[in-house]
């Protein structure tokens, strides 16, 4: 696709999101959003950790701020949410990342979450809160996490970010350790293994919507309306180009670029 058409599409989609935000933020029309069981499972998991006196874990595998930047940043947003919940409940928590770059942000996010809940002393106590870098690479992080799940007393574990080929291994590690597991996966690679092995899964577009849902902020909720509008427009465009290609016999690329 030519740059002009690509830019036009980008601008139209951005305008749709802006309209969604305007509708909720200025006009106050809040959208109806269905329940996301995986998000509710996080609260349930923290409650379970509180009852058993075990830890809550939040992990970001493949926390690459270059290749998987949106997935990693979303994971860090969710890390802040889990940290706030854990701080409020007074549950000991462990936060792990697989990249030193993400570690810097993760430490800041967790610190801010504990500060906002008035629990800075918990953050400063390594027995209560620990933000750990578990190593880079395809094998280092999953192995280190599997080891932690076996050795530490972890009741609930939430994973977010890009997982990829270690999905089955990580899912099985959680099951072996009898840990309640939630996967928030804003990607598609090996998602089927995640669905088969994790207790709760939130995937693809839903995972990005979760980032907005947890805040309960009007503008953020409006972005979900915009995202739905883009989805419907995309479906309509796919149908239109399907008809053009099959009935008129003009390939989509030829129709667009000429």
């Amino acid at each position: 696709m030519a740059h002009e058409q690509s830019f036009a599409l980008f601008a139209v989609f951005m305008l749709m999101i802006a309209y969604g935000m305007y509708r909720t933020y200025i006009k106050g029309k809040l959208p109806h959003i269905r329940r996301l069981p995986a998000l509710e499972a996080i609260d349930e998991g923290i409650g379970r950790a509180l009852e058993t006196g075990a830890k809550v874990h939040f992990g970001v595998p493949n926390a690459d701020l270059a290749r998987y930047a949106p997935a990693t940043l979303l994971a860090l947003t969710l890390m802040g949410y889990v940290a706030k919940k854990a701080a409020k409940a007074g549950v000991p928590a462990l936060y792990t990342v697989s990249s030193p770059r993400a570690l810097v942000i993760a430490e800041a996010v967790v610190r801010e979450a504990y500060t906002s809940e008035g629990k800075l002393e918990d953050y400063e106590n390594p027995e209560k809160v620990n933000v750990r870098y578990l190593g880079m690479g395809e094998t280092a992080y999953p192995l280190a996490l599997a080891n932690l799940l076996q050795r530490e007393k972890i009741a609930t574990s939430v994973l977010s970010g890009f997982v990829g080929k270690n999905m089955l291994f990580l899912g099985e590690s959680h099951r072996e350790a009898n840990t309640f597991s939630v996967l928030i996966y804003p990607e598609v690679d090996k998602v089927e293994f995640g669905v088969a092995t994790f207790d709760y899964v939130l995937m693809a577009q839903e995972a990005y919507a979760a980032g907005a849902l947890i805040t309960k902020d009007k503008a953020q909720l409006g972005s979900i309306i915009g995202s739905d509008m883009i989805s419907w427009t995309t479906i309509a465009l796919v149908i239109v180009f399907l008809i053009i290609a099959s009935v008129l016999g003009i390939p989509t690329k030829k129709f667009l670029v000429g």
Binding site: P70, L73, T77, M79, R132, R151, I214
Partner: protein, 216 residues
């Protein structure tokens, strides 16, 4: 809160970077390209500096475990500290050159320890994945039944014995891979693209604060 400690100065920097990247993509051949390449170089330099933070974190945690005599872990922590020290010393002793330069100590360590250890561990993970696959392939409900159904035909498509048992197995397996699988994959990818756009929009207006180390 003082303005310089708020999110806004960071947001302005982020906007500037995003606009440079957008313009360098949509208006190629302009001075934005030069600005973009400078930004990429800066990010590589900053990324290298930040690795030190990871090193400090891993060292602090290992020392803490040794001090506490954490059961089952403290001796591994000593081993980890030792390996960090050996790698660091050999890296500094090498001076110039990259770890991939043949004949250097760090290259020798990488080729003879890290690579084989990594391969051995990945092979061990393979067995664990096998048990996970066995559990995953149990049809507990409709979703897992469909999963098993797809996996059955895909396995028999790839295994030579599938075609020998019945010639239809590879045909069905191929159809499953090239029609429903690709269709679902593309739908999910489009959804992810839309999700990233909405995330970017929230980031532009300063609602997504995690990148700045803040929480809502």
């Amino acid at each position: 809160m003082a303005w310089y400690r708020s999110i806004y100065p960071l947001l302005v920097i982020a906007w500037a970077i995003v606009f440079i990247i957008l313009f360098s993509y949509y208006c190629p051949g302009t001075s934005f390209d030069i600005a973009y390449s400078i930004l990429v170089r800066w990010s590589i330099i900053m990324g290298s500096v930040v690795i030190a933070v990871g090193l400090i974190n891993i060292t602090i945690n290992s020392v803490r475990e040794v001090k506490k005599r954490a059961p089952g872990r403290w001796h591994l922590a000593i081993w980890q500290l030792l390996l960090i020290a050996i790698t660091l010393i050999s890296g500094f002793a090498q001076g110039k050159g990259s770890p991939t330069t043949p004949g250097t100590i760090i290259n020798w360590l990488f080729s003879n320890f890290y690579r084989y250890g990594d391969l051995a561990i990945f092979a061990l993970m393979g067995f664990w994945m096998l048990t996970a696959a066995f559990r995953a392939f149990r049809a507990r409900n409709l979703e897992t039944f469909l999963f098993v159904f797809g996996a059955f035909f895909t396995l028999l498509r790839n295994a030579p014995i599938g075609g020998l048992i019945w010639r239809g197995f590879p045909v069905i397996g191929q159809w499953l891979l090239s029609v429903p699988y690709i269709a679902v994959q593309r739908a999910l990818l489009i959804g992810i693209g839309v999700g990233i756009l909405t995330y970017a929009a929230r980031y532009f207006i300063g609602k997504e604060k995690a990148a700045f180390g803040r929480v809502e």
